[in-house]
């Protein structure tokens, strides 16, 4: 029994090490190969700073929007019956199934200069593709499902009795939502937000397609890593990659903290 447990444990750890721990550790080792000086120079490089700042901006717009949409969609799907509910349910899962590159192309076809709305938008002086709006759209698209997917099962589990009780006690729909529903689903929301944030920060494919990858203008952190690596700026690539890896690791840690606390709530 103990022997078997150890074998399973070793197998799991070995698998994780080969695929995750060692590569992530290698990034850290390689980054600091020549000491902290070059790393500092690489990270404070205006293009790097701009790339990180752009990623932050995109995330700060995409995450709140997807959180609000995700909660609304989850409530609509769980609490109401309407035509096209199955379709909404399927569409929410679509970004999981679609390759980010395809997402990027779809956006170009719709909002690009020769696209559906592109010309009209351009006449209004709004540039979507090769600019921030397009990159935000791409990020929203790929990180859309997380909040809804996390909140739906929690909403199902809590049922409607608490909400009905709130109504009989005199709470309006808004009061019921903020005082009863939202606190009851809060850990689902937090979990969804963490996943959405991680995905938004890490997105490469869709954003790369719609951004036009203009250095210092539409270059996000992930694109910057790739550009730096391809132009043999290894320290630049590793340093930015490490920043991303540390951010991702913190998100995962937060997620685990949330998971432990969810048990108490």
């Amino acid at each position: 029994m103990t022997a078997r447990r150890w074998t399973v444990r070793l197998l799991a750890l070995g698998y994780l090490s080969a695929l995750l721990f060692i590569p992530v550790a290698m990034i850290a080792v390689r980054t600091f190969q020549n000491g902290i000086g070059p790393v500092w120079t690489a990270i404070t490089d205006p293009n790097t700073v701009h790339a990180l700042w752009l990623t932050l901006q995109i995330t700060l717009i995409a995450v709140p929007l997807n959180t609000i949409f995700g909660i609304c969609a989850a409530i609509a799907i769980v609490r109401y019956d309407f035509r096209g509910k199955a379709l909404l349910n399927a569409f929410i899962a679509l970004p999981f199934a679609l390759s980010p590159v395809v997402v990027g192309l779809c956006l170009i076809l719709t909002y690009g200069r020769t696209g559906w709305f592109g010309a009209d938008l351009a006449n209004q002086g709004i540039q979507v593709i090769f600019a921030l709006p397009g990159m935000v759209l791409a990020t929203i698209f790929v990180s859309l499902p997380f909040v809804a997917r996390e909140v739906i099962p929690v909403l199902r589990e809590i049922g409607t009795e608490q909400e009905q009780a709130a109504a009989t006690l005199g709470a309006s729909s808004a009061q019921t939502f903020f005082r009863v529903t939202l606190p009851a689903i809060r850990w689902g929301v937090v979990y969804g937000v963490v996943l959405t944030t991680a995905r938004s920060i890490g997105e490469y494919g869709a954003v790369a397609v719609v951004s036009g990858r203009i250095i210092g203008v539409t270059e996000t952190a992930t694109i910057h890593v790739n550009t730096a690596y391809q132009s043999f700026d290894k320290v630049g690539a590793y340093s930015t990659a490490l920043v991303l890896a540390v951010t991702a690791l913190s998100t995962v840690l937060i997620m685990n903290l949330v998971n432990t606390r969810r048990g108490e709530g």
Partner: protein
């Protein structure tokens, strides 16, 4: 009238849950809606609360038509079978909920919550979370929460259904005493005839979405209008087309002209009460309920030949 329901019908798809029901409930009374599951009693209660909208018919509270008024503006208190406790709030916060959404002052809320915690005997548990309470405590918390806003009517949907028999009995007595103290018009839904008879001033018996009979417990027990009410309100034995209560069957050792011969199949002693299962010559089976002393006087055992006489037979013309 505190509550008047007029010609209410509620369907769920093809299923008619409540079928053209009219009901008047007097202010300050404690009424039980009694019936088997699927009889429409809970749906009727939820229609009164505003948690369901009737397809046709009207509901009035204190003379005001509230048929289209949403639940949160009806001034009612509702207690759910499974407590519906706000799990993320403490007991005190749960009880304060109705007052907080009404924006009452902090000091008023504090005083009222303290008062209610005492009323429902949850002293010292105000800072606990619902998950740290027993089922009985949770239901008392839910009751305090419903009473906090001083509702015009208090509606209880199988409030003790999820509790074990012992706690259920205690809470039932307690609810009766509470009602005598606070006098709020109360409607309790139950499928347990003993609970209904014990706690309520007035019992409304429902079946298949309709009211079969309403009256005070004694009236229902003594003068049921049909076979269903007779059978649902207490135990019965059948004697041909007639029905008889077990305690209305007299057992004798010798015939007297009006008796029927029978054989004792089994004797079940339940403390002071004794249940005697009998088989008549016709093959019909009866259950007689006698006292321990009566059994001692008869000195009968299983397999004994006896003579039985129903003291009071009830016959119903139509087959309902």
């Amino acid at each position: 009238m505190a509550i008047s329901v007029e010609h209410v019908t509620k369907r769920f798809g093809d299923f008619v849950a409540v079928d053209d029901v009219s009901l008047e409930i007097e202010g300050g009374s404690l009424t039980a809606l009694l019936g088997p599951s699927g009889s429409g009693k809970s749906t009727l209660l939820r229609v009164i609360a505003g948690l369901e909208v009737p397809d046709t018919g009207t509901v009035a509270l204190l003379g005001n038509d509230v048929t289209r008024v949403p639940a949160h503006r009806r001034g009612i208190g509702f207690v759910f079978q499974h407590y519906a406790a706000f799990k993320h709030m403490t007991v005190a916060k749960n009880i304060a909920f109705g007052l907080e959404v009404r924006k009452r002052s902090k000091s008023e809320i504090k005083d009222r919550v303290a008062e209610l915690i005492e009323l429902v005997h949850l002293d010292g548990l105000g800072d606990r979370y619902p998950s740290q309470l027993s089922g009985g405590q949770r239901q008392r918390m839910a009751l305090a929460r419903a009473l906090a806003v001083e509702p015009e009517v208090l509606l209880l949907d199988e409030p003790f259904g999820a509790l074990d028999a012992r706690v259920r009995k205690d809470l039932r007595d307690w609810l009766r005493r509470l009602h005598d103290e606070v006098h709020v018009t109360t409607v309790i839904v139950t499928h347990d005839q003993e609970e209904a008879m014990e706690v309520a001033d007035r019992v409304v018996v429902m079946q298949s979405g309709r009211i079969e009979q309403e009256g005070d417990p004694v009236e229902l027990y003594e003068h049921p209008v049909n076979k269903f009410v007779m059978g649902f309100i207490g135990p019965v034995s059948h004697l041909g087309d007639a029905m008889v209560r077990p305690h209305d069957i007299q057992i004798m050792l010798s015939p007297n002209g009006t008796t029927l011969p029978a054989v004792v199949e089994r004797i079940v002693r339940l403390g002071f009460e004794v249940r005697v299962n009998l088989e008549l010559d016709s093959g019909e089976r009866l259950t007689a309920q006698i006292t321990r002393d009566e059994l001692d006087d008869l000195a009968i055992e299983q397999g004994a030949s006896v003579f039985v006489r129903p003291r009071k037979l009830q016959e119903f013309s139509n087959a309902t």
